[in-house]
């Protein structure tokens, strides 16, 4: 299962450290986290379930999109893009 880490900027709404969750895509892995941390959803996604423009996703070190597949035991990072904000 992938391991997912959130930027410290989201610490108030997200798990405090990396979490291992089920999910075969980035979106499904995020949904697993949102199930436990519902307030986090609208900080990462907009109301249309799109990734917010200035949030960056990485899978095993490579910039990724929400619906990209994630390998077994992938490392997912949800970070603040340095654009915007």
């Amino acid at each position: 299962m992938p391991r997912i880490t959130f930027t410290a900027h989201l610490r108030r709404w997200a798990p405090s450290g990396p979490v291992i969750v089920p999910g075969t895509t980035v979106r499904l892995a995020l949904e697993s986290v949102f199930a436990e941390y519902p307030a986090l959803r609208l900080y990462v996604l907009d109301e249309q379930r799109r990734l917010r423009k200035h949030v960056a996703l990485f899978v095993d070190g490579t910039r990724a999109a929400l619906d990209d597949a994630v390998p077994q035991n992938a490392e997912i990072y949800v970070l603040q893009a340095l654009s915007g904000g």
């Binding site: 900027h9 307030a39 900080y43 990462v44 109301e47 249309q48 917010r52 949030v55 915007g84 904000g85």
Partner: protein, 362 residues
């Protein structure tokens, strides 16, 4: 209860209270996060603060009276897939205005956003519905952004005599009127003029840029707007407008405040024409009319000598219910108050973050 002043800045919400030494900061909430709109609900004392986290979107918080117990509530949002094309469905990028509903609708509040949408909550911000009747106006295709990429609603005026009657101001989409709680809308703004349009479109009410619209609470049909191309007044609730001429320094600016009981008394903060957006020759002043715009006074006492490059945005000039106490915050983080209707100003703080909005509260 003592008057409080709430100041929404690029780096959080400051609360000030008036004491022997003048207005002093007593709280700083949402530290580091831009506050884009504030509401003190006079019906029940609730506070509302709209935030723009930038990377992480727009949020809404509310507090019981006093502002000491903030809780995050649902922000206004478009329905999922709204419009049919999921990829292009709109999303709220800024909460630009908040307003209390009528006295007979205690839970009702309204929110205006960028892109230009109006939302209603009937449970004090717990949940929101899009006012589709305004969003679906055909003339929306002619609206455009003013200072932002998309049009936005910055002014929501609920008629104190009829909670279903309202005026909405859009930059740039004109002045909209509803008499049935938002179900249907008519385009007001006859008489406004847009010098930024080609000659044949200058009087099109759907492309006007009223920077801010206010109504006198004691005479709700009497409106003022600081428009992109001048100051205008309406005596029929926003349908028809006439331009006010002869303002000192400039008739460009963003903010306007109207006296709560005297519709002929209004305050403005002039800036040099839209190309520059700075005080004219560095003269930072407030202008006031007390006769409905036939004459104006230039109020400078207590304000900085030239050169001063403070700019006061749409929601950053407010008058308290007493009609005498005013507050004004600038784009360069200075905050002034007046206790005598603007005759003299006192600097409350010169070093705040850039100020978006101010409001009085109890």
């Amino acid at each position: 209860m003592a008057l409080k002043l709430l100041v929404g800045t690029r780096k959080g919400l400051f609360m000030l209270e008036d004491g022997l030494g003048g207005w002093a900061i007593t709280r700083h909430d949402f530290v580091g996060t831009p506050v884009t709109s504030l509401l003190h609900d006079p019906r029940n004392g609730m506070y509302y603060a709209a935030l723009n986290h930038g990377h992480f979107g727009v949020k809404l918080h509310r507090s019981e009276p006093g502002g000491a117990a903030w809780e995050e509530v649902s922000p206004p949002a478009f329905p999922e897939g709204f419009g049919g094309d999921a990829a292009k469905a709109p999303a709220v990028s800024l909460i630009w205005s908040l307003a209390s509903g009528g006295a007979d609708r205690p839970g009702q509040i309204w929110a205006g956003t960028i892109p230009g949408a109006l939302f209603r909550s009937d449970d004090r911000g717990g949940s929101w519905v899009l006012v589709e009747g305004l969003w679906l106006q055909e003339s929306r295709a002619r609206w455009f952004g003013g200072g932002y990429d998309d049009p936005g609603i910055h002014s929501i005026l609920i008629d104190p005599r009829d909670s279903d009657s309202m005026v909405v101001g859009i930059s740039c989409g004109g002045v909209w009127l509803s008499r049935d709680g938002g179900a249907s809308w008519t385009l007001g703004g006859q008489g406004l003029v847009a010098a930024y349009m080609p000659p044949e479109a200058r009087f099109d009410p759907a492309v006007q840029d009223p920077h801010r619209i206010v109504a006198c609470p004691a005479a709700p049909d009497r409106l003022w707007t600081q428009h992109h191309n001048g100051v205008f007044r309406s005596e029929d609730g926003g349908a028809n407008w006439s331009q006010v001429v002869g303002l000192p320094l400039s008739d460009f600016g963003f903010a306007v405040a109207v006296h709560p009981a005297r519709p002929d008394t209004a305050w403005f903060v002039p800036a040099e024409s839209d190309e520059k957006r700075i005080p004219l020759d560095g003269q930072f002043v407030v202008t006031r009319t007390r006769d409905g715009g036939y004459s104006f006074e230039t109020l400078r006492r207590g304000l900085p000598l030239p050169p001063a490059y403070d700019l006061v945005y749409r929601h950053a000039l407010e008058v308290a219910p007493d009609g005498k106490t005013l507050a004004m915050g600038s784009s360069t983080g200075s905050l002034w108050t007046s206790a005598d209707g603007g005759e003299a100003w006192q600097l409350a703080n010169a070093h705040l973050p850039p100020i978006a909005c101010v409001t009085f509260a109890t």
